[in-house]
């Protein structure tokens, strides 16, 4: 059947590997949102001694290329050490699939983004960074650029709803211009905490809604 997808993409899309959740995951991270059309949640379980990825699972709300990339990417990192996994890029996954149509790239990058976010969180949570960088406003902004406002599918940095951001004495204070009773306030706050709370020099993350 002629499709823009390779046989391998179709195979992984039809029967994706590593689908599901890990109850006692070391890291759970979500990239994207239904509003942007794709969303992927990734779970990592890592051996604390060897830092090898012993289990990895994902769930995807997405199209064929998103699902197929999630499937092959999780195959590729299983059994690898954190350091080895960090080197695997979206391009490696796309190549392993035999290529993806250019128009579908944006749907599939999400799987790689989720993996790298998850690895970063694991490394920082466990103090495995080569050098411990103090958390700056720039670093916080970079991390918040992965938090999507479900209302419009745009990340909260790009959509300019962050009205205040301060990092002081181990406390991050964030002021968001959305009403506290907004449908998505709780979800956004949770995502922010997941991305910042574990940072080695951070004691507290305060999120204030000023909408």
């Amino acid at each position: 059947m002629p499709t823009p997808y390779t046989k391998l993409v179709i195979e992984h899309f039809k029967n994706p590997h590593n689908v599901g959740e890990i109850e006692d995951a070391d890291v759970k991270v979500t990239e994207g949102s239904p509003a942007c059309g794709d969303m992927l949640t990734l779970y990592l379980k890592v051996d604390p001694l060897t830092h090898k990825i012993v289990d990895v699972k994902f769930r995807s709300y997405g199209c064929a290329s998103n699902i197929a990339t999630g499937s092959i990417m999780t195959d590729m990192v299983k059994g690898k050490t954190i350091e080895e996994a960090e080197k695997i890029t979206w391009k490696d996954a796309a190549e392993a699939l035999g290529g993806l149509p250019p128009v579908k790239v944006h749907c599939s990058v999400l799987a790689a983004d989720a993996l790298h976010s998850a690895l970063e969180i694991y490394v920082e949570k466990n103090g495995l960074e080569k050098e411990k960088k103090p958390t700056t406003v720039e670093i916080v902004f970079q991390k918040l650029s992965h938090v999507i406002d479900p209302e419009n599918g745009v990340d909260i940095v790009k959509s300019k709803i962050i009205k205040k951001l301060k990092v002081e004495n181990g406390i991050i204070s964030i002021g968001l211009e959305i009403p506290e009773d907004s449908q998505f306030a709780g979800n956004i706050k949770e995502e922010i905490l997941e991305r910042l709370e574990y940072l080695w020099d951070i004691k507290e993350v305060k999120v204030v809604f000023t909408g």
């Binding site: 059947m1 499709t3 179709i10 039809k14 509003a35 942007c36 059309g37 794709d38 699902i67 944006h106």
Partner: protein, 384 residues
């Protein structure tokens, strides 16, 4: 089993239509515009005029020159809109349309907007209906054209064209309706109040490459394709005679009994989906819709994934998901109807034809139900 449920995109050409076309490749290959040159042309000209008369009767027009043959619905819409705008710009530069028109309408008025015309895009409600009062209020002294589709190609929503055209004509404004997906499924049109109507034969088992624009006598429009005096001097270019004869045949054999059967099948599909699959939202309004379209949203899953998996099972449909579209935008039609991006991404359009059977619908729902269930297992959404 292979099931084609994408008939709102294009249909299988009826064998009788193909037979009616063949002589115009093989024997009657001269052009009707050669009628004054030789008898070859004269013969064809007579046959084309017969076809024109026949189509005119079906539409309910009065003069044969009211039927203009074009290359398709897209060109008909371009001609109706740009043609009217350019010819009447001294009277005014305001055009009213809706936000859920076909892209050939939307992009035509967008182009005019860049050239200095002012466009009002009427909003639609949750079901896709244009509000009559809002429409009425949008009409101004300098409004020269109102273009509202008869039926929507994605959701099947049928506008109240009788009421809309009446209001527009009361103000002496040119009224165009894009009936590409609607006519002749909806034949009962008040042609008296319609100045311009787009018809697209490949949507009802006619050939591709031929379109019709009904242009009521007295309408003033410029031609947009130059190079000759064909089609009442509104459309230059060699006449697509096989296409014209195929269009005529498709109109001739179109049957109301088929429409009734298709509508029954469509309703059967809807009921089966409702019974078999949880968390479905229907985007096609029950009250007034085209008989052959059913659009619904399967919550928590993305449409391209559904349509691709259906295709593996031999079933052809289409989706309003951004992942499927070439511009990676979710369906502007569903968004205009107040759906969220998520609802639009999970939407699937089923469009039926006379060639579909009840067995095919049963097979489709059976496959659909397991595909949706499977993809929902995969999805991080809807788990609580």
């Amino acid at each position: 089993m292979r099931v084609y449920l994408d008939n709102a995109t294009s249909t299988k050409v009826d064998d009788r239509v193909i037979e009616a076309m063949v002589p115009f490749f093989r024997d009657y290959y001269a052009l009707p515009s050669s009628q004054f040159t030789h008898s070859y042309g004269m013969e064809v000209s007579d046959l084309v005029n017969e076809a024109r008369e026949f189509i005119l009767q079906k539409i309910g027009g009065t003069k044969p020159e009211e039927i203009i043959f074009t290359s398709g619905g897209t060109e008909s819409n371009n001609l109706a809109i740009k043609g009217t705008a350019y010819a009447n710009q001294k009277k005014g530069k305001h055009i009213v349309t809706s936000s859920i028109e076909h892209l050939s309408v939307i992009e035509s008025v967008r182009k005019l907007e860049k050239e200095g015309f002012e466009i009002t895009f009427l909003p639609v409600d949750q079901k896709g209906y244009v509000n009559i009062e809002t429409l009425s209020k949008s009409l101004r002294d300098d409004t020269i054209l109102v273009s509202i589709q008869m039926g929507n190609h994605e959701t099947g929503t049928l506008q109240n064209i009788k009421e809309i055209s009446k209001i527009v004509k009361q103000k002496n404004i040119t009224f165009h309706t894009d009936a590409s997906i609607a006519w002749p499924y909806i034949e009962d049109v008040e042609i008296n109040n319609i100045d311009l109507m787009t018809i697209s034969p490949h949507k009802f088992h006619g050939p591709k490459g031929i379109g019709i624009l009904y242009v009521k006598k007295g309408s003033v429009l410029n031609k947009i394709i130059d190079g000759g005096y064909n089609e009442n001097n509104l459309r230059a270019g060699s006449e697509n005679t096989p296409g014209i004869m195929g269009a005529k045949k498709a109109i001739e054999i179109f049957s109301k009994d088929d429409v009734r059967r298709i509508e029954e099948l469509r309703n059967y599909l809807r009921e089966k989906i409702e019974v078999k699959i949880p968390d479905v939202e229907f985007n096609t309004p029950v009250e007034s819709s085209l008989p052959h379209i059913l659009n619904c949203t399967f919550k928590y899953v993305e449409g391209e994934a559904i349509s691709l998996r259906l295709d593996f099972a031999g079933i052809a449909v289409t989706t309003g998901s951004a992942c499927y579209s070439r511009n990676l935008q979710a369906s502007y039609i569903l968004i205009a109807m107040g759906r969220t991006h998520e609802q639009s991404h999970g939407s699937i359009r089923f469009s039926l034809s006379k060639y579909n059977s009840k067995d095919e619908i049963d097979y489709t729902v059976e496959k659909l139900s397991s595909i949706v269930e499977d993809l929902r297992k995969l999805s991080p959404l809807g788990k609580e």
